[in-house]
């Protein structure tokens, strides 16, 4: 079933008045040959070198049955700038023709400097883990794209043991790409002729992504707040546990003293639960939202590229018009060379105009496909993450039950 006809599938769904769970099955069936088998993991961060020239090397392992690859299970070592290099190559090849290229993770000078300087503390470990996870998600999103998967740069990135170092990564960082995208947006805003949008679909979708962007940013901020408070709760629980232990020591009634010490132990274990939950809040929820905020910027960029393409086509058309006028004028003068030159230029421009129109139609077609694919993936992604998050919450509750049920007899033993 072609992805170009989303309305078809959904009319069918609405007709069927089954419980909601069936909707998910429906979407799954529709996909058909969309499933492919490739899994990438980024692991074993290793510091290479010393001082300010040091960097982190990550092991990138690919497990796949896709025929494009020479092997089924292989790994390579890559550093952060390699990922940025890959993204910049893909962006330069595919963005302007309407493909949504997943953005690479953000650069972080502060985080990286700490690591380089050799600070082996919790915050630099957290930074490395955060980056590792982000790189993994980045690669998985990239290879999930059917076109990007086949790109030789991607294959080289995953397979070859040696990779030429990406130069000038500052321009290639995701912030750099964002700047490039923003420049395109600015150019669009400055367009003297406003594009006459004959296709309502594009207008609708653009508005939708604008709104989505605003909502996701807000949601992201809320979740970051939650993570912060959960970490605070963990700290406060640990402190309370200590004070309860001291109170237990001070207590002169034996059974009560023991119960208070047990309470302190329970609270200590619960503190660990809070920490684990904060991690889940962060990785399953907060980072997901952050990824999508960046992804939607890429989507918006693609729409802007379409406008640019349209503008180029219009410019060629305007130029052609001018040349035709010039030709008409030259008809009345006795300048055969100039006339011929103009006729040649017109021929060239006619070709350009045709190409411009073709490009515009192609990018429009590509964007429709891309948006449909993107939305579908987004649904799957969100659903999976939500389920995982809920499961993490279940896990926490189970542990809480265990701890408090173990404490209860101790409390009852006070007499």
């Amino acid at each position: 079933m072609s992805c170009d006809a989303p309305t078809h599938c959904f009319i069918r769904i609405i007709e069927i008045s089954l419980p909601f769970c069936r909707f998910f099955l429906q979407i799954e069936e529709e996909e058909g040959g969309d499933s492919f088998d490739i899994h990438i993991s980024v692991s074993d961060p290793e510091k290479v070198g010393d001082g300010m020239n040091a960097y982190m090397a990550y092991k990138v392992t690919t497990k796949t049955s896709v025929a494009l690859f020479r092997q089924r299970d292989f790994s390579v070592k890559r550093r952060f700038s390699d990922f940025l290099g890959l993204h910049s190559k893909l962006a330069s090849k595919y963005l302007h023709i309407g493909y949504i290229v997943p953005p690479a993770p953000e650069k972080s000078i502060v985080g990286m400097t700490k690591v380089k300087v050799g600070k082996e503390d919790q915050s630099s470990n957290e930074f490395v883990e955060r980056r590792r996870s982000a790189l993994e998600r980045y690669l998985m999103r990239t290879v999930k794209h059917p076109i990007l998967l086949k790109d030789p740069d991607v294959l080289q990135f995953l397979e070859s043991s040696e990779l030429p170092r990406a130069v000038n990564t500052q321009a290639l960082s995701s912030a750099g790409i964002l700047r490039m995208v923003n420049k395109a947006a600015e150019a669009v805003n400055k367009m003297t002729i406003k594009m006459n949008e004959s296709d309502a679909w594009f207008e609708e979708k653009q508005q939708h992504f604008e709104n989505l962007d605003a909502q996701l940013r807000k949601l992201h901020a809320s979740v970051e707040c939650l993570v912060c408070h959960r970490k605070e709760l963990s700290v406060n629980t640990a402190q309370f546990a200590k004070s309860a232990a001291m109170l237990g020591n001070s207590e002169d009634h034996t059974a009560l003293s023991r119960a208070l010490s047990q309470l302190a132990e329970v609270e200590e274990k619960i503190d660990q639960l809070h920490q684990d939950q904060a991690n889940a809040d962060f990785y399953l929820f907060s980072e997901l939202l952050g990824d999508y905020v960046r992804l939607i910027s890429a989507v918006k960029g693609v729409f802007d590229q379409r406008m640019k393409t349209w503008q180029k086509w219009q410019d060629s058309q305007m130029l052609l018009q001018k040349k035709r006028e010039a030709e008409a004028k030259l008809q009345f003068t006795n300048k055969p060379d100039k006339l011929q030159q103009t006729k040649d230029e017109i021929k060239e421009l006619e070709g350009r105009v045709q190409q411009g129109e073709r490009d515009f139609e192609q990018i429009s077609k590509t964007i429709r496909k891309e948006v449909s694919r993107f939305e579908k993936d987004r649904v799957k992604d969100f659903k999976m993450s939500i389920v995982k998050y809920l499961e993490s919450l279940v896990q926490t509750q189970q542990q809480l039950i265990k701890y408090w049920e173990a404490f209860l007899p101790e409390a009852k033993a006070i007499s």
Binding site: F24, L219, L390, E405
Partner: protein, 402 residues
């Protein structure tokens, strides 16, 4: 503006203290009114004692009246050997008031749904503070009614029975006692307590124990308060999250019905279950643990006050001895000095005797209260976690399409 629900009173009543179920004098606060910041409590008494004019009656009282009662008891010489139940703290609506202020400021930026939700939360918090303050005032009176000596106090009876405004009496008391006398008698001087040479093993032990225990319980109370505040913050976060998710799910176009439903389910779940349960966990935990610690911190302060009064009595006795020796040396006013010394000794002995009884009872009472509350807290935690888990698992099943 807001009044107190009869049903909720039952659940709250027996939080911190084991109550005496002596039917001869039963006191409760069945109703209370909140006007701006002033709370008016309805104190209801049921009694079989002949010392009261009627078998059942109610009077309106303010927080200041409770403080007056507490202070007059403390300043009564005869009760120097007793642990006077700690005065209930002033009703503190600071936190919900702050929230209301924030809500008012942020009204323009919030959606209607968010605003309604936050308003509901605010009302719930107001109610929680309200219930708490009613409870501590009630417990104060019940401690008095269950004490063999204090329950017979004349001022206590006036407090319960006098159907006029007590503010006149309050003013008189202030004039009579004056501020500085209060400070002298009420607050325990740790230096004096620690410095006194103790002859009695029992009191020596109690002194060491109480001084140390007080600092530990004060610390534990502070940390417990921080912990419950964090829980409340998280509950608030979940409310905000669910409001944002609501807006997000509204945005998702009807083409992608799936994700809209998915988000709506998630959001409903967050709103109904987690917020309620997290919020409830925060307030139950607060009631049981934090209030328990807070209450006994104040109670131990009262016990320390008793030790202080006894230490002063001992100091007075030692001074009277010295005065007697001096008088004997000089040969002047010997009989006076002898009288004084005898009185001081008597006072000291009375204090020691009743003090010992009070402190022993106090320990027993404390152990029972801790047991009760710790057990109830653990049972509630288990119950809430189980509820939470059931809801979560139901949600997961729906989402996974099973």
């Amino acid at each position: 503006m807001s009044s107190f629900d009869e049903n909720n009173k039952e659940r709250l009543r027996s939080v911190s203290v084991d109550l005496n179920n002596d039917a001869s004098l039963l006191i409760d606060i069945p109703d209370a009114l909140c006007e701006r910041d002033k709370v008016k409590f309805t104190v209801h008494t049921k009694t079989t004692l002949s010392s009261f004019q009627k078998p059942e009656f109610s009077v309106p009282r303010q927080h200041e009246d409770f403080i007056w009662l507490h202070d007059t008891l403390v300043e009564t010489e005869d009760y120097a050997g007793l642990i006077i139940p700690p005065a209930p703290p002033k009703p503190d609506f600071e936190s919900p008031r702050e929230k209301m202020h924030k809500l008012g400021e942020g009204e323009a930026t919030m959606t209607k749904e968010e605003y309604t939700k936050m308003k509901q939360e605010l009302e719930a918090e107001y109610l929680a503070v309200f219930k708490k303050t009613v409870q501590v005032h009630e417990v104060f009176l019940q401690r008095l009614s269950s004490h063999p000596v204090l329950s017979k106090d004349r001022n206590f009876q006036i407090f319960l029975e006098y159907d006029q405004d007590l503010s006149v009496r309050r003013k008189n008391a202030k004039e009579m006692f004056g501020g500085f006398f209060k400070n002298m008698v009420k607050s325990a001087d740790e230096v004096l307590i620690a410095g006194v040479k103790e002859v009695d093993d029992f009191f020596e032990q109690e002194k060491t124990f109480l001084l140390d225990y007080f600092s530990k319980i004060k610390e534990a109370t502070a940390k417990a308060e921080k912990m419950t505040r964090s829980h409340k913050n998280i509950a608030d976060d979940y409310i905000r999250l669910s409001a944002t998710l609501n807006s997000l799910s509204a945005e998702e176009s009807t083409n992608y019905y799936i994700i809209k439903f998915c988000l709506k389910l998630f959001q409903n779940f967050l709103r109904v279950c987690l917020k309620k349960v997290e919020g409830r966990v925060a307030s139950d935990e607060e009631l049981k643990l934090t209030e328990l610690l807070r209450y006994y911190m104040r109670d131990i302060q009262a016990a320390k006050d008793l030790l202080y009064r006894r230490a002063r009595a001992l100091a007075d006795y030692e001074n009277s001895n010295k005065a007697l020796d001096k008088a004997r040396l000089k040969g002047k006013d010997v009989s006076q000095a002898e009288e004084h010394q005898k009185r001081c000794l008597q006072k000291f002995d009375t204090l020691s005797e009743s003090g010992k009884k009070e402190l022993t009872n106090f320990k027993a009472r404390r152990v029972v209260a801790f047991r009760k509350n710790l057990v109830e807290m653990a049972e509630l935690e288990v119950k809430h976690a189980k509820n939470n888990m059931t809801l979560l698992q139901g949600c997961i099943e729906l989402l996974s399409g099973n």
